[in-house]
C-alpha cells in the first residue's frame, strides 16, 4: 500500500496556501507516494488553464479569465428563477401591473446577492461544500439534519419543477409522460459528460434561455415611461396595502434565497476548484447572475401586465393557461416563447436542485461527490441525483395527486428551513478559524445580518399566514 500524501497543515485562518507557495522540496518529497484521483486530474486541468490565463496581461486574457471562472453564480440565480418563481412573477404582473413590484423584485435580488456572496467566500476559502462545513464545525447532528432537511425540501421543489415542465410543454400538445421523460433525458445526458466544466457549460447554455421572457415582454409593448416611473417611485400599488399584498410581499421576500441555493453555489465553487484569488470573479459571477435573473423576472411581469389592464383574474393560472391568455395580446409566437420559458425554468432548476441534493449527501455521508467523477467512482452521487429526479418526475404523473397541496407544502417547508440554513451560513462566514482574514468586515456583517433577519422574519410570517390565514388580519391588515 502506498503511503498517502500528507498535505501541509493549514495555516491559521484560510485553509490552504497557494500552489505557487509550494517549494521544490515539497514536490520532491512527494515522489511516488502521492494519491491522485480522476477528480484531482480534471480539477488540476481546469486550474492550469486559469493560472495560465491569469499570468497573461491585457483585456482579452481578463475576459477569458472571467469566462473560465463564471458559472456557479449565474446558475444559482437563473436556477432560482424556477417554474414556481416565474409563475409567481407572471401572477404578480397580471394582478398588479406595472408599479410597486418592479423595484421590489430588484431589491429581492440585491438581497440574494448579499447572501450568495457569503457562499462564494466560504467555498473558495475552504474548498468544501456547505453541508460538509456544517458537519465538521457543528457536529454530525446538525450535519445530517441540514442534509435531510435540504433533501426533503428539494424533493418537493423538484415536483413543482416537473409540474412547470409538464405545463410548459403541454402548450405545444406534448403529453405529460413524454414531457417529463424528455426532461429526465436532458438531465441524464448532461451528467454523462462526467466533467464539471462541460456540465456547467451545457447548463449555462440552457439557463440563458431564461431570457426568452425578454422578447415576450417586448411583444407586449410595455409603456416604458410607466416602467421608468415605477422603478423610481415604487408606485402605483393598486388596491393599496392589503392582506393579499402583504402575503405576496412576504412570499417574495421569503423565496428570495432558498436553502438549495446556499448548498449548491458553495459546493459548485469547491467542485470547480475556485480559490481565494478567484473570489472577485466569483462575486462578479454572482452579480451577473442576479442581473440576468432580475431582467428575466421583470420581463415576465411586463409580459403579463396587459392582463392587469384588461382586468383578467390570473391568480390560479398555470403556465399553459398564462400562455393561452396572452396569445390574443402577444400572438402565437409570443405565447409559445412564454411556454418555452416555463419549460426552461423548470428544466434548469430541476438539474441544479437535484445536483445540490447529491452534493450535500456526499459531503455528509463522506462519499465521493463531484461532477468530475466517472460513474463507477461516484455511484452514490449520481444515484442520489437521478433517483430524486426520477421520483419527483414520477409523482407528477400519478393521476389525482394533489399538486396544489404539494406546492403549498413546498412553500411552508422552504420558509421554515431557512432560519437554520442562514444561521449556519452567518456563523461559518464569520468563523475566523476557517476564514482567516476573509471574515466579513463589520459594515458587511451588519448588512448581511439585516438581510438575514428580514429574510427569516418574512419567511416565518409567511409560514404563519399559510397555517393560520387569519393571523395577519388580526395584526391589522385589511
Amino acid at each position: 500500500m502506498k503511503e498517502q500524501y500528507t498535505a501541509p497543515e493549514p495555516r491559521s485562518g484560510i485553509a490552504s496556501r497557494a500552489a505557487s507557495d509550494r517549494t521544490a522540496g515539497d514536490l520532491a518529497a512527494l515522489g511516488s507516494a502521492v494519491v491522485i484521483t480522476h477528480e484531482d486530474i480534471d480539477r488540476a486541468h481546469d486550474r492550469e488553464q486559469v493560472s495560465a490565463t491569469r499570468a497573461r496581461r491585457g483585456f482579452r486574457p481578463r475576459l477569458r479569465l472571467f469566462w473560465l471562472l463564471i458559472g456557479p453564480g449565474i446558475l444559482v440565480m437563473l436556477g432560482e428563477n424556477d417554474g414556481p418563481s416565474m409563475l409567481s412573477y407572471a401572477a404578480t404582473g397580471a394582478r398588479f401591473g406595472v408599479g410597486f413590484f418592479l423595484p421590489f423584485v430588484v431589491l429581492t435580488f440585491l438581497m440574494a446577492c448579499v447572501v450568495q456572496e457569503m457562499t462564494v467566500r466560504l467555498g473558495a476559502a475552504t474548498h468544501r461544500g456547505h453541508a460538509e462545513l456544517i458537519f465538521d464545525r457543528f457536529g454530525p447532528f446538525w450535519g445530517w439534519f441540514s442534509m435531510v432537511d435540504l433533501m426533503v425540501g428539494n424533493f418537493l421543489t423538484l415536483v413543482t419543477e416537473f409540474i412547470a415542465i409538464r405545463a410548459g410543454l403541454g402548450f405545444f400538445g406534448v403529453r405529460p409522460a413524454v414531457a417529463v421523460l424528455s426532461a429526465l433525458l436532458v438531465l441524464s445526458v448532461a451528467l454523462m459528460t462526467h466533467r464539471y466544466w462541460t456540465w456547467e457549460r451545457i447548463i449555462l447554455g440552457a439557463a440563458i434561455f431564461n431570457l426568452v421572457f425578454v422578447p415576450v415582454a417586448l411583444l407586449a409593448h410595455p409603456n416604458w415611461g410607466a416602467v421608468g416611473r415605477a422603478l423610481v417611485t415604487w408606485s402605483p400599488l393598486p388596491g393599496g396595502v392589503t392582506q393579499e399584498t402583504v402575503l405576496i410581499l412576504l412570499a417574495n421576500i421569503g423565496a428570495t434565497v432558498t436553502p438549495w441555493m446556499l448548498f449548491f453555489q458553495q459546493s459548485a465553487i469547491a467542485d470547480k476548484g475556485l480559490t481565494i484569488r478567484d473570489i472577485r470573479m466569483g462575486r462578479l459571477d454572482t452579480a451577473l447572475g442576479a442581473a440576468l435573473a432580475t431582467v428575466a423576472a421583470l420581463a415576465t411581469m411586463l409580459a403579463t401586465a396587459p392582463l392587469f389592464l384588461r382586468h383578467m383574474t390570473a391568480a390560479n393560472f398555470e403556465a399553459a393557461e398564462f400562455a393561452q391568455a396572452l396569445q390574443p395580446l402577444i400572438g402565437h409566437w409570443g405565447a409559445a416563447l412564454f411556454a418555452l420559458g416555463m419549460f426552461e425554468a423548470g428544466m434548469v432548476a430541476a438539474i441544479t436542485i437535484s445536483t445540490s441534493s447529491a452534493y450535500a449527501f456526499g459531503e455528509v455521508a463522506r462519499r465521493p461527490h463531484s461532477l468530475n467523477l466517472p460513474f463507477r467512482e461516484g455511484k452514490s452521487f449520481y444515484l442520489v441525483l437521478l433517483v430524486e429526479a426520477v421520483a419527483a418526475a414520477g409523482l407528477v404523473l400519478i393521476p389525482g395527486i394533489p399538486l396544489v397541496y404539494i406546492v403549498l407544502l413546498v412553500n411552508v417547508i422552504a420558509v421554515l428551513a431557512m432560519p437554520p440554513a442562514l444561521l449556519f451560513l452567518y456563523m461559518l462566514v464569520n468563523d475566523r478559524e476557517i476564514m482567516g482574514e476573509l471574515v466579513s468586515p463589520m459594515w458587511a456583517n451588519a448588512l448581511a445580518l439585516a438581510v438575514v433577519i428580514i429574510l427569516v422574519g418574512a419567511g416565518l410570517l409567511f409560514g404563519v399566514s399559510v397555517i393560520a390565514p387569519n393571523a395577519l388580519a388580526m395584526l391589522g391588515g385589511r
Binding site: 500524501y5 498535505a7 491522485i36 486530474i41 486550474r47 475552504t126 397541496y405 397555517i467
Partner: protein, 78 residues
C-alpha cells in the same frame, strides 16, 4: 492502491509519470487534493455561551417546525 479506496475514488497515480503527478499537485492547492481533504477534516468548533443558547433555540425551533409540517400534512390529508 492507497487508503482512499475506502471512499470509492481509486488512486490513478500509478498510471502517471512523475512529471504528471507533479503538475497535478502544483496546479491545486494542498487541501484541494481529495486525499488531503479526506485526511484533514476541519475540527469541531468550540461554541461560546451565546452560541450554545442559540443552538438550543434552534433545537426548539426545529420541534416547532416539525410540528407545523406534520400539522400541514394532517390537515391536507383531511
Amino acid at each position: 492502491m492507497g487508503k482512499f479506496d475506502s471512499a470509492g475514488e481509486p488512486d490513478v497515480s500509478g498510471a502517471m509519470s512523475r512529471d504528471e503527478v507533479a503538475s497535478v499537485i502544483t496546479a491545486l492547492e494542498p487541501d484541494q487534493l481529495i486525499a488531503a481533504k479526506e485526511k484533514h477534516h476541519l475540527p469541531r468548533r468550540r461554541l461560546t455561551r451565546t452560541e450554545i443558547v442559540l443552538f438550543w433555540g434552534l433545537r426548539i425551533y426545529l420541534m416547532f417546525m416539525v410540528g407545523v409540517v406534520v400539522y400541514q400534512i394532517w390537515t391536507g390529508a383531511r
